[in-house]
């Protein structure tokens, strides 16, 4: 007599194996999608950070800063030896940080904190060497990317006799 169909054991085993394959496939696809989305956001933020940092450091290192002045809660103005000046401003509401003529707009999903500064001095004043540090911090964070700050953190070494900080 001819037997048609499959046994129960065969069916259960087949379904179990196919389920395992589908689960692994779905995990793989979700992983790739998640990674792709996160990397897109991260790349853009790192590019923006890099460009801004480059602009700020290039000016500070090449233009002979004479005065750093506070022009508001989220504003710093740098005056150079050649008579020009540049402003670093933070517009938290519109997610914009500008330095001089350069403006960087951030994605809506970022959070920009207030501009913070601090100064530290070496133990003794020196004549022709850097003996103080001016720190500028503007943290920029994204809720979906933990433990990473895409903000502006500038460390400027200067000589106290050559650069004035005006509050």
């Amino acid at each position: 007599m001819k037997k048609n169909g499959f046994t129960l054991v065969e069916l259960i085993t087949t379904f179990a194996l196919i389920s395992a394959i589908v689960i692994v496939l779905v995990q793989l696809v979700l992983n790739v999608k998640n990674t792709y989305e996160k990397l897109g956001v991260k790349t853009e933020l790192l590019q923006t950070q890099g460009t801004l940092l480059d602009k700020v450091y290039t000016s500070l290192l090449t233009k002979n800063v004479q005065i750093i002045s506070y022009c508001g809660e989220n504003c710093l103005e740098f005056y150079y030896q050649n008579g020009t000046s540049e402003r670093l401003t933070v517009d938290r509401e519109n997610k914009i940080i500008s330095f001089g003529k350069h403006t960087a707009s951030f994605l809506d999903l970022v959070k920009i904190s207030s501009l913070e500064t601090s100064i530290s001095y070496a133990q003794k004043e020196l004549v022709n060497k850097e003996d103080a540090i001016f720190e500028i911090h503007i943290p920029v964070t994204v809720s979906t990317i933990h433990d990473q700050d895409f903000g502006i953190h500038v460390i400027f070494q200067y000589n106290q006799n050559m650069v004035s900080i005006v509050k």
Binding site: K2, K3, F6, T7, V9, E10, T13, T14, L17, I18, A20, I21, V24, L25, Q27, L28, N31, V32, T35, L39, K42, L46, Q49, G50, L53, D54, Y57, S120, Y121, A122, Q123, K124, L126, K129, E130, D131, I133, E135, D147, Q148, D149, H153, V154, I155, Q157
Partner: protein, 159 residues
Amino acid sequence: MKKKQKGFVLVETLVVSLLVLTVLIFLFLQLNTINLNYQKSFRYNTVEGLYSANNMKVYILKNGYENLVKEMNEKKSYIDITNCQNSSLNNTSQCSNLIKALQIKKILFTTDNVESLLTQNEVFEQKFLDFMKYMKTNQENKYRLIIAFENDTYATIKF
């Protein structure tokens, strides 16, 4: 009448499914490895890290670079300047302030070729060694700084 064997179909299904499952798991693991390495590379030589390294380079050039080179020529493979207490450096309080402001976890002054450092597993963390392996070295510039930051990023700059 010939009896038809049914057991053979289950074996076929098992074999094919196991094969497909193995290939998928292999793909999944490979993708994870690629992703991990890609994530790692985001932490190497970041723009912020490079400018921080440049800050330290500027400090060293003005405060004891020649002394460090002399010390290295006494057949040392590296000088650890994290604590700034190295007697070759001047103005060590500026150094300490810089290390703190730049959030540096470890900073080494080494030769451009770091092969001798790669075997020192008990001295350096594995992540630091991984970065050193990743660095491209040549003999053109003689010395470099290798820096590990508190935020788990790494940077290197040549003199």
